[in-house]
Amino acid sequence: MLRILVIEDDPEAANYLVKGLSELGHTADKAGDGETGLQMALESEYDILIVDRMLPKRDGLSVIEELRKSGNHTPVLILSALGQVDDRVTGLKAGGDDYLPKPYAFTELQARVEALARRPKTASQIETTYTVGDLTLDRMAHSCRRGETEIPLQPREFRLLEYLMQNAGQVVTRTMLLENVWEYHFDPQTNVIDVHISRLRGKIDKGFGAPLLHTIRGAGYTIRDAAQ
């Protein structure tokens, strides 16, 4: 369960977010303007902040900058109608951790929020090995094995699996994969990501027992051990 603060001035959008997040079992508060949002974020402990870029009284980016200045490092997801690459860059430079252009699908938002919450906060917290079921990814040795079998991976396949396992148990959307594994910020019209996933699936799931890599219809993918 996460404590989330939604700073958004449009009441309909804010209510929709709060309701959706509560249904997922998170606690969500909302603030209607930048000033209140900053106050609330400073006063109580939140796991995630969802900040709209254009807010009355104080704009979203300045809220984030102010927070960071006061030493608050709560992960921030920026929501904005401005979705171009340069807008993202400004957003991320201001201290945001992820950037979601409006309009968005709620599943996308959920996936990103959960990925942010799982994100290691300091370098020492970055794990060197990820394990899901009997699948192990060793980031130092750059190797992957399932059970006793060594699985050879291409560099990009390694990055793909690494990202999925970093977010094990969470839904990861196609856009998130394109952004984080390939570092591209556009919307391909074809199912290019699906093909990479299916290749990866062929390597890590095919011929082994229960599949670990799952497709979540209409949302994306997740890696998880069915037994867990």
Binding site: P103, R156, F158, N167, Q189
Partner: protein, 486 residues
């Protein structure tokens, strides 16, 4: 009055006035300085000569008496130089000398002081009355008075010469200023007026008008050329703005209407929750498609509005191409095709990497959709090479190509040659590629490869050694283990 004030308000007029003022002041200063100094110098010399002669003559008087003095003066008076002498006795009778007439006061006040006097020289004609001289008069023992002087004619002539030079110089300056003024107002101001007039016409709405270029490559030509380039760009922007509005009106209204019909009919007909659900799901997928179109449109508009040179970085073309190849190879293979890449090493482009990638991706996706040959396997070739100081990126397929007359049209927004619109798509992919190419100072060009279509865009090469990101590392997972971007 208005005409006069119009003239006096021009830059040309003000410049000419300033020119006159500055030159007059400077040359006046120079001439005054010269004449002052030479005057002083000459006067000093005169005084020195006079004093020397006086000393000599008084010595002669002391030694040889008045007779010797008279003889010496007589002798010296015969030299035709500028020296003047006069010796008179106590009654004022001239004993010797070469001065015929001079104000009596000078001899009466024989106090040894220097004076400037008018005099007449002996043996000169009458017209020469008004000569000037610097004289010193002494009273000698025995009531004699001795006058020694120097004619100032030389000095005065020199002063006159300088004064005349100054006058002449002023006239020259004024004439030059007038000529400058005429030149500036005729040639230069005329060009500025032309530019002003044309820009007025353009401001009233005729964006096709262009500034005249005289063709002599002066600064006005350069100004006109760059203003014309700016106008070209503005015209393009205005036109594409208009196109977008037209196309939005046409192409976005259709799906919006469909959406409306769907919602209305669901409200009217659906009896069960299931019916509503289906209707809502359809609506959602329709809005997704609409949003995709809308985003694509906005993106194109954004790219078109960007200034050329914005956010350029130095990009290794080989790694850019291989990244794309790496992303698309599996997909193309799954579709039963082959992706070939053909890139020269060490080619660096100055570009916005993300946009170029998206442009190439769109071309590849187009090739995947429409470039399939009627028989045999799909072959896509992605190549990059340097040609004529441009970096040409091309995507080639082996399909049926695009008829020559359609090759321009497909680059327009919403144009899809697939009349049935059976393949999913927005008809905006190539418009985006075109906008990206334009942003990089290039163009999107098609040629038919018989078989197949070759789509090319061109980029500027990066300055060698210029800063920026070489993007040299080609996605090697190692060396990235501190990456926390998530």
């Amino acid at each position: 009055m208005t005409r006069l004030s119009r003239v006096t308000r021009t830059t040309a007029f003000k410049l000419s006035l300033l020119y006159i003022a500055v030159f007059t002041l400077l040359s006046g200063f120079l001439l005054v300085y010269i004449s002052q100094n030479t005057d002083n110098l000459m006067s000093e010399q005169v005084v020195q000569t006079i004093d020397a002669e006086l000393n000599g003559l008084s010595d002669i008087y002391v030694r040889g008496g008045v007779r010797d003095l008279v003889q010496t003066i007589d002798r010296r008076s015969r030299h035709p130089d500028a020296s003047l002498y006069l010796l008179v006795d106590f009654a004022g009778n001239a004993l010797a000398g070469n001065i015929a007439r001079l104000p009596t006061l000078v001899l009466e006040e024989a106090d040894g002081g220097l004076r400037r006097v008018h005099y007449t020289r002996q043996g000169q004609d009458i017209s020469d009355v008004e000569r000037q001289a610097m004289v010193r008069t002494f009273e000698l023992r025995g009531g004699f008075r001795l006058l020694v002087g120097r004619d100032l004619g030389e000095q005065l002539r020199f002063s006159n010469l300088l004064a005349n030079a100054l006058r002449l110089w002023l006239i020259v300056v004024v004439v030059m200023a007038a000529i400058t003024w005429i030149f500036v107002s005729r040639r230069v101001m005329k060009r500025i007026d032309e530019i002003t007039d044309t820009s007025r016409t353009i401001m009233t709405g005729d964006l096709t008008e262009r500034l005249p270029v005289a063709g002599n490559d002066d600064e006005f030509d350069r100004l006109a050329v760059s203003l014309n380039t700016m106008l070209d760009r503005i015209e393009l922007l205005m036109r594409s703005m208009k196109d977008v509005t037209d196309n939005i009106a046409h192409d976005l209204k259709t799906p919006l209407t469909r959406l409306q019909i769907r919602v209305e009919s669901a409200l009217r007909d659906a009896e069960s929750g299931e019916g509503y659900r289906t209707a809502l799901e359809d609506t959602l997928s329709e809005t997704d498609q609409l949003l995709r179109v809308f985003n694509a449109l906005l993106r194109i508009a954004r790219i078109e509005a960007m200034a050329p040179g914005d956010g350029l970085e130095r990009v290794d073309v080989k790694s850019l191409v291989s990244e794309i190849a790496e992303l698309y190879e599996p997909l193309i293979e799954d579709e039963g095709g082959v992706l070939e890449i053909n890139v020269t090493d060490g080619v660096f482009a100055s570009c916005q990497k993300e946009l170029v990638v998206q442009g190439l991706v769109n071309l590849i996706e187009n090739a995947l959709k429409y470039g399939r040959p009627s028989e045999g396997d799909l072959k896509i070739r992605l190549s990059a090479k340097e040609k004529d100081a441009r970096i040409v990126l091309s995507v080639e397929d082996n399909g049926s190509g695009i008829p020559d007359e359609q090759q321009e049209r497909v680059q327009d927004r919403f144009v899809r040659l697939d009349e049935s619109r059976s393949e999913p798509g927005t008809g905006l992919g190539l418009s985006l590629v075109k906008a990206v190419a334009r942003l990089h100072g290039g163009n999107l060009r098609f040629t038919n490869g018989n078989p197949g279509l070759i789509a090319r865009i061109d980029l500027s090469p990066a300055e060698p050694g210029s800063g920026g990101n070489s993007n040299g590392q080609d996605g090697h997972g190692s060396g990235r283990d501190t990456s926390t971007d998530g």
